[in-house]
Structure formats: C-alpha cells, structure tokens
Amino acid sequence: MPSSSAKAAAGETTEIRSRARLGSGFVLPALICLLVAVTLYSVTIGRYDLSVADVAYILIDNVHPLVTPYWDPVQEIVVEQVRVPRILAAIVIGFGLSMSGAALQGLFRNPLVDPGIIGVTSGAGFGGTLAILLGLQGYLLLTMAFLFGIGSVFLVKLLSTVRGRTSMLTLVLAGVVISAFFSAAISIAKLLADPFQKLPAITYWLMGSIASSNYLDVLLVAAAVVPSAIAIYLLRFQINILSLGEEKARALGAKVLLVQWIVLVASALISAGVVATSGIIGWVGLVIPHVARALVGADHQRLLPVSGVLGAIYLLLVDNLARTVTTAEIPLGIITALIGVPVFAVILRRLHAKGGWSGD
C-alpha cells in the first residue's frame, strides 16, 4: 500500500500534470452504461435469427419466468451457451489487456509499451502452437500456453538480473530477446506443422478468437485477469509516482522495484491467461490506454478503470464484427490490427506535434 506521503505527492503531482478535462468524472459511469448497452445489444445479434424479445424472455426466464417458454431449446442454447460466454470473454479480455497496457505505459513512461513487452505473449503463443503441433486440444492447450507464458517471464527475470539487481532497461531488452526467441520458435513449429491441418489451426489460433468460448474459459481467463487487475488498481497511486521517473519516485519514497515487479507479474498473468484462452489479440493494450488518456488524463486512479471499461467495449464491438460480418469467423487479431494501426498512427502524429510523450 502506498505510504501517506507518497499518496499525497502523487495526488499533488497528478493535479499539477493533469489537464482540466470537463466532466472527466462522468466518463467512467458513462462508459459503464455504454458497456451495459453494448452487452445487451451484443446478445441480440448473431448468425442465428433471434428477435430482441426472444433474447430478453430467454434471459429473464433464468431469473423470473415472465411468460411460458415458447421458444425452441436451440434458441436458448444459442443465447446462453454460445453468445453469453463469448460476450463475457470479450469483456474480461478487453478489460484486462487495456488495463495492463495503461499500467505498463505509465510504469515505463513509454507510449509504445503493451502487455507483450515482457515476452509473455510470444511465450504463451509458442506454448499454444506447440500444443497444436503435438495434437493437444482444449485445456491441455490452454495449460501449455499459460505455463509457457509464465515461464517466459521467469526467463526474462533470469536474463535481466545481474548480481541480484534488475534494471528496467535490461528487463525490457530481455523481454525483446525472449519475444524474438519465442517468435522464432513459433516459426519453427509452423514449418514443422502439417500444412493442411495443423498449420491452418496454428495460424488461426495465433490470430486470436473467442468463437468457442464457454463458461469454463470465461472463468479461467477471469481467474487470471480479475485478481491481477485488482492488484494493478491498488497500486494506482504508486504508478502515478513512477510515471514521473524512477529518480523522482525514489525521492518521494516509493518502493520502485516492488511496484514494478507487481505490475509486471500482474500484466504477465493477464497476458498469459488471455493468450491461453483466446490466442494473441494485439493492439488492444497499446491503443485503448491512449484513447482513455485523452478522455480522463494521466491520473491512473481514473485512467486504469476507464481504460479497462473502454477496452471491454472495444473488444466486444470487435467480436461482434468478427462473428457477424461474414459466415466465416474473422480472427480478432486481424480486426484489432486493422483498426489499431491507423488509430495509433494518428496518436503518434499528435505526440510528435506535442514534442513527445510526457505521460499525460
């Protein structure tokens, strides 16, 4: 927990550095309302023809039957076993990726950072790829992806620790090295994969999809995301201080190394959980925090939850596109990249025009 002096300093700093944004306090409640609306809308759309009233009665019937069930059991399966778990997965994943992206960007004072910075995404990606190559499916695949993701963090830690000390620069470089290593390993696995069966499966999985999500998947990804997001949010004041720079943070009494490691491990857990259940979904953790920062400023007390909710809305909308635009499923990673690249280009131009990123 932050010390009272650090907390006060962080609040003061934030007040100095934050822009005056009219009504920024209403942003989070407004976004939560929007998330609820988008969620309800998402349940009513899909390839299978269901009216809004059908969906409403099917859902309400679980709580309090309003009408005698007139719907086909298949319709109930579509709503409750197909759409709802998928929607929940999109919310949890979007929330987790965006929140960890916002925390890491603050921590490293770098707008180009996303949850993949510490090699965990590539590590988990290789774990999943290896599982497909070995013919493993379902929860064996998930377990391997998660273990490799977490394993990559330990490798990064091992590489970046010299004589018991770890610098952030070395850590980021170690992350780049491990990322490159696992990317090469993925390429080797793809080279060895059966080009007619396993290679398409690997390629599709790596591009990210939540098409087959069930409640257990949601539970598993939530088990990784929720505690990690809570840990990150509890450190919001410390992250504010660290975003001023390590020297200043130390001068203000912040436990720099401890905060950095907690945020890194929490982000690694989120990324490993997400990749294990859904493959690699890029750009969410990179772009959404910038949009959130434009809405509420750089104070992580507001930025973190706003990033999370905005990420949940964004990924939900992206998944709606993925499952409704064509008869075929479009991998989420493709859509997030198609949207993320131009948005990020605009952000970079604005940053350049401002003379660089200052964290606010």
Partner: protein, 355 residues
C-alpha cells in the same frame, strides 16, 4: 481458367496424337504447364514431390521399383501405417528426402538420386525452377480439380509407358460414376440433402467450403459452398445452426475426430444431423483426394445420403477396385477398416448400409 482449359485440351489431344510415339517406346506428352516432355524410354528413376504421386505412379506402373524418392510427408502420411502400408510395404523403403512436409524441393537430395524425372506441383514456379536449373526433367501436375486427378493417372500412363493401365483405371472410375449419375439424375434436384464436411469441432469449428470433391456426383449439396474462397472456413456454432445440415461428414484425414465426439457434445446436439445420428466418418479411400480409388467416395456418400441402392454390393466393389489398382487381395477385416465401420458404429444404420 482458360489456360487451365487449354491445358486439358492439349493433354487430351496429346493422348490421341502422341500415342504412336508411346508404341515405339518413346513417350512425348504435354504436362499441366503445357510443356512438352519427351522420354526416349520410360524413366527408370522417378522422384515425386507431390504428396500423392507415389500412390498414383505405383498404381499405374504396378510396381514401386522406378520410384526412387518422395517427400517425407508422403512417407509418414501414407506408408508408415494404414491401408497403403499394409498393401504396399515396399513403399516405406523409398528414400523420403525429396522435400519435407511442404513441396519445396531439396535439390541436392533429389540430385543424389540421379532421377530421370521429377513430379512436382505447378502452382508456384519457384517449386520447379530450381529443379530445371540443375538439368532435371520435371513433369508438372496442377492441383486439384476432378479433371486434374484424372490427368494424374493419364500423365503417369505416359511416363510409365503403361497407357493401358491408366486407361483401365480411368475406365473403372468412369463406369462407376456413370452408373451413379444415372441414379442421382432421378433424384428431385430441389430436395437434395445438405452435407457439411467438418474436420474440427474443438477449439475451432472448421468446415470445407471449397473442397475438390464434386458433391453433385453424390446428389447432395454443401450449404457452406464458396467456390471463390479458401478450402476451409472457420465458423461459429450459430452458423452451423443456420446451415443445420442433414448429414455431417468427417473427412478421413481428421484422424482425431469421429461421430461419437459429435454425439457426446451437448451444444452440437441441437443439429439435425446429430439428432438423427447422421454423422459419418469418411472411409479410408478418401484419405487422399488424389488417389485413383477416390471415386469410391462419391458412391459411398450417395449411399449414405440416399440409401444402399446407390452403392450396391459396395464391399465387393472395394475389393475389386483395390485389386485392379494395387493388385491387392483385401481381407474382410481390411475392408471393414477401410469403411471405418468401427468409428461409424454409432451412426445411423451404417452397418445396414454396407453389409
């Protein structure tokens, strides 16, 4: 498309025009690139990079002696286990270093075999150019229409000098399909059953949208058909429900999937095909779509969709076909294994269909 048609016409013409040359032992023909290939005598050392080419070439040549190299995937996929390994054990002894799982040739390994001819795919010039650059004679096969498959047998006939064998195999195929066509022609075209080929239902649901099998030969339609796109399409469960096929076929290559997995899946239980237990695993003869016996698949599917009358005495036909093509004398157990009877036990009336 026009160049493809042109190639087929040229190939057909070459059959009639160039056969006299074959009679004199010299063989001259056009491959799928339209390139004229001439052999003074049938090549004695052939390397195949096309995965199914060893099967086709062995079938037409009636022996494996002239095949000196193939790709690793041919070996592991067909000749280390399964019916081909049982029928043609000599194939497993052939050097398998011509290429790995894909079709990029290992030029030095191929050169070491001193081949008189190499069979390679035509879809990418880079697959052929390195071979021709070092002076090898390459016979190009293009992928993968029904006509292309017939041509593989014809081209193998030209190469081996065994046009008689090639024509006998093609005749067996055309006669079977002609008889099937007469029966299918009597079906009501507006009420043909819908068939989905599904090869994955776990982490991804994957259907065949643009496969090479002509389903109209069997009197069925594919609701996922899209001739403009990729072979496979990944869909979600809702889309499966929208299509709600009458029959689901599990391709023979999907080795870890069987009908029981569909019947045990509570979400898939809402599908019509699952409710009516009309989920079937394809027989082994559909394992490679390029094999000369692939025409049996059309007959099998017609029987599954419309009844045993569409494939009368099918077990005997399997035995006769394998005897003609591979010279094999199949046992009753092998025929049962070829039909995937064990996997298909829970499927609707499978045992009755193929007594």
């Amino acid at each position: 498309m026009s160049s493809r048609l042109g190639t087929h016409i040229a190939l057909a013409l070459s059959l009639s025009i160039l056969v006299p040359a074959t009679a004199l032992a010299e063989s001259s023909f056009l491959d799928h690139r339209g390139k004229k290939i001439t052999f003074a005598k049938p090549p004695e050392r052939v390397v195949t990079v096309v995965r199914s080419a060893p099967i086709v070439y062995r079938a037409v040549d009636e022996k494996a002696d002239h095949i000196v190299g193939m790709n690793k995937d041919s070996l592991t996929r067909y000749f280390t286990k399964g019916i081909y390994a049982e029928m043609l054990p000599e194939m497993a002894k052939i050097n398998a270093s011509a290429a790995q799982d894909g079709f990029v040739p290992n030029v030095e390994a191929i050169l070491a075999e001193k081949p008189d001819a190499v069979i390679q795919w035509t879809h990418d010039e880079k697959l052929i150019e390195p071979l021709e650059r070092v002076g090898l004679t390459v016979v190009g096969w293009q992928c993968c229409s029904e006509q292309d498959r017939l041509d593989y047998v014809t081209l193998s006939g030209y190469m081996t000098g065994r046009n008689d064998r090639a024509q006998a195999i093609l005749k067996a195929q055309s006669e079977t399909l002609k008889a099937l066509d007469e029966k299918v022609g009597k079906l009501d075209k507006s009420a043909l059953p819908t068939v989905l080929h599904i090869d994955k239902v776990a982490d991804q649901i994957q259907v065949i949208a643009n496969g090479s099998q002509d389903l109209s030969l069997s009197g069925v339609t594919n609701p996922a058909a899209d001739n403009t796109g990729e072979w496979w399409r990944t869909v979600d469960f809702e889309q499966l429900l929208v299509w709600n096929p009458d029959i689901i076929i599990i391709p023979a290559y999907a080795t870890d999937l069987d009908p029981q997995k569909f019947f045990d899946n509570p979400v898939l239980a809402s599908l019509k095909a699952v409710k009516e237990k009309r989920v079937y695993k394809q027989p082994v003869f559909a394992r490679t779509p390029d094999a000369p016996e692939i025409f049996l698949t059309s007959e099998w599917l017609a029987a599954v969709a419309h009844g045993a009358a569409f494939a009368p005495d099918f077990k005997k036909q399997i035995v006769d076909t394998y005897k003609l093509i591979y010279g094999a004398d199949l046992s009753a157990e092998q025929v049962t294994a070829i039909l995937e009877s064990e996997s298909n036990t829970p499927a609707n009336q499978y045992a009755e269909l193929f007594r």
